[in-house]
């Protein structure tokens, strides 16, 4: 595959998806130093918010160390070249959050829905576009439906005004052929001026391979996380992706050594545990479960005595989608009761 000379925009996730393994506790100072490091390394786009997007601060997903607005106002003025994006999940955040983020100076708004529910994004995508923002439609858990069905949803988001559409492998379940089929069809059928993006998780160690497959199929924006941060086993590790791009002649504008220094010197030291493939994050990728469920399942295991793996498998069987973190403790309690570990309640 000859992709030499292709330019790909890398979008760093360490300060948004990377909030998940940090239980949303990254401090403002840590955000500032990592963002400045990424900016100096030439990373063009950096996402900053609660792990579950604008308005994610909650009992259900976790209260962050600072508000979205505090993070954005701290980071954005420090950026020399990099632009900053925010994620918004309709049903969690609202257009009020979008307006706030725009006021803070984000240039990109990414509106995320489950892959079959694109029509809840109309008001947010409309507004983002109307405000002149780079407006991205982000179709999560894209492994759950066939490429043709994903295309229908992508067309909806495009019709609302999104200028870029993502196929998002939230569970880290896809294999390169799955990526090729989805990205290829989107590239083929969406308007030529609509950009295509791919967001991977490394749960089956496919982050880089899937991202390269996406580029080969026509994606020009790739989400990565410096130091391999991110929910589950992390996103596509940014420094590894850059190294592979360099070897293949794909242009990113990112300095491989600088960015790997950021990973080693700034990101790794703040981790609470190594973000890697262990039996639980492997289960996410193997069974197709939303990556952010990982820590919740581990906490439920500790509290209710049912293994995180079994809880995750059950959530997968019940076809839980992103945002249903509330069902993890519920499922663990029900499983514990069925096994006689908990006395019968309710």
């Amino acid at each position: 595959m000859n992709l030499a000379g292709t330019f790909v925009t890398t979008h760093d996730m360490s300060l948004r998806d990377g909030m998940h393994p940090k239980r949303h506790q990254i401090t403002i100072e840590q955000m500032k130093s990592i963002a400045q490091g990424l900016d100096a390394a030439g990373v063009p786009l950096i996402e900053v918010t609660h792990g579950d997007g604008l308005g994610g601060a909650s009992v259900n997903y976790g209260f962050p160390a600072a508000t979205d607005e505090q993070y954005l106002r701290a980071v954005i003025p420090l950026m020399k070249r990099a632009r900053v994006s925010a994620l918004l999940l309709p049903g969690i955040g609202t257009v009020d959050h979008l307006r706030m983020a725009a006021d803070c100076g984000v240039t990109t708004i990414r509106v995320a829905t489950h892959c079959t529910e694109a029509d809840v994004s109309e008001q947010h995508i409309n507004l983002g576009r109307k405000m002149g923002l780079d407006t991205v439609g982000f179709l999560m858990m894209a492994h759950m439906i066939a490429p043709e069905l994903l295309l229908q949803q992508a067309l909806l988001m495009e019709s609302y005004g999104a200028n870029c559409i993502y196929a998002t492998d939230s569970a880290g379940y896809m294999l390169p052929d799955d990526v090729t089929a989805r990205i290829g069809l989107l590239r083929d059928k969406l308007k030529p001026e609509t950009e295509i993006g791919f967001h991977g998780h490394h749960n089956l160690s496919m982050g880089v391979a899937n991202s390269i497959a996406a580029v080969a199929a026509g994606a020009r924006r790739i989400d990565c996380a410096c130091g391999g941060m991110g929910a589950g086993a992390g996103n596509t590790p940014l420094e590894v992706f850059i190294a592979v791009c360099n070897r293949m002649g794909i242009e990113t504008g990112v300095d491989i050594f600088k960015v790997s220094d950021v990973a080693e010197d700034l990101v790794t030291p703040i981790l609470d545990f190594p973000v890697r493939i262990d039996r639980n994050s492997l289960t996410l990728g193997y069974a197709g479960v939303y990556s952010s469920f990982l820590l919740f399942a581990k906490r439920a295991e500790a509290k209710y005595g049912v293994s995180a793996r079994e809880i995750l498998l059950e959530l997968g069987r019940r076809k839980m989608v992103g945002g249903q973190e509330d069902m993890i403790e519920d499922t663990a309690i029900t499983m514990a009761r069925e096994r006689g570990i908990l006395p019968h309640a309710a």
């Binding site: 909650s58 009992v59 259900n60 309709p90 049903g91 969690i92 609202t94 257009v95 009020d96 489950h114 079959t116 529910e117 029509d119 809840v120 109309e122 008001q123 019940r318 076809k319 839980m320 989608v321 945002g323 249903q324 509330d326 069902m327 403790e329 519920d330 309690i333 029900t334 309640a345 309710a346």
Partner: protein, 303 residues
Amino acid sequence: MKKIKCAIIGPGNIGTDLLYKLRRSTLLEPVWMVGVDPASEGLARAKELDLKTTSRGVDGLVPYVKADGVQIAFDATSAYVHKENSDKLTGLGVMMIDLTPAAIGPYCVPPINLKQHAGKREMNVNMVTCGGQATIPMVYAVSRIQKVRYAEIVATVASKSVGPGTRKNIDEFTRTTAGAVASIGGADEGKAIIVINPAEPPLIMRDTIHCLTADEPQQKEIEASVHKMIAEVQKYVPGYRLKNGPVFDGTRVTIWVEVEGLGDFLPKYAGNLDIMTASATRTAEMFAEEILAGRLPLEAAAA
């Protein structure tokens, strides 16, 4: 026994389900179905059930309000047209029960404040949202025991049960529900999250209620209060069930419920829609009792 005559505005899924429930009521009699599309299946269905129908909107009903003795109207259309509908009918002394998110009247969650509204002669009450009806009773069950400084609800509904109106303006759901979780539920601050799940077969509506109490939760009292409230809601939504909890974790109190509908016109999994039509019916019945007992003379409101 004399029944109070009702009109339903909006012959869609909600309006039709409401019609089925009203036909069972011993206090209410549905007499008019109002739509805007002459080809509407809902209007045809209502006609078969011997209701008068019009496809000219509320204007088609107005000339018949007095002669047909319509005293209560349900609006199951959209927030955009509700105010106009309401002004036209309350001006004739018809009480409005608003199932749209317009919320120009006070919120009504039957087991919490229905009696209060009946006493105040409100001419327009709003049924909040499906998520609100399903969760606010639980917030209240905690807040009537002790101070709740923050309440958050997560409503998960089957994709097939979420109509285009809600999808186009999902923010209205989160805003309205969050506001009522605080003001009617009795929390200092409220937050609402909605998740739409496309699983097949469709999942039954699930709701999770998290409360953060100001002080250490009084576990026994809260448990008893929650069970009592579940029984109250079951009086009009028999499929309202406590699935798990209350779980106590520091000052967090979490309750998980499931809402299965009656399956009148809507499928049983759509408990989110059923709890709206059931709450609206319950509300109207309470007003009907007051009207029939002569305690609630309906007067024309200034439009």
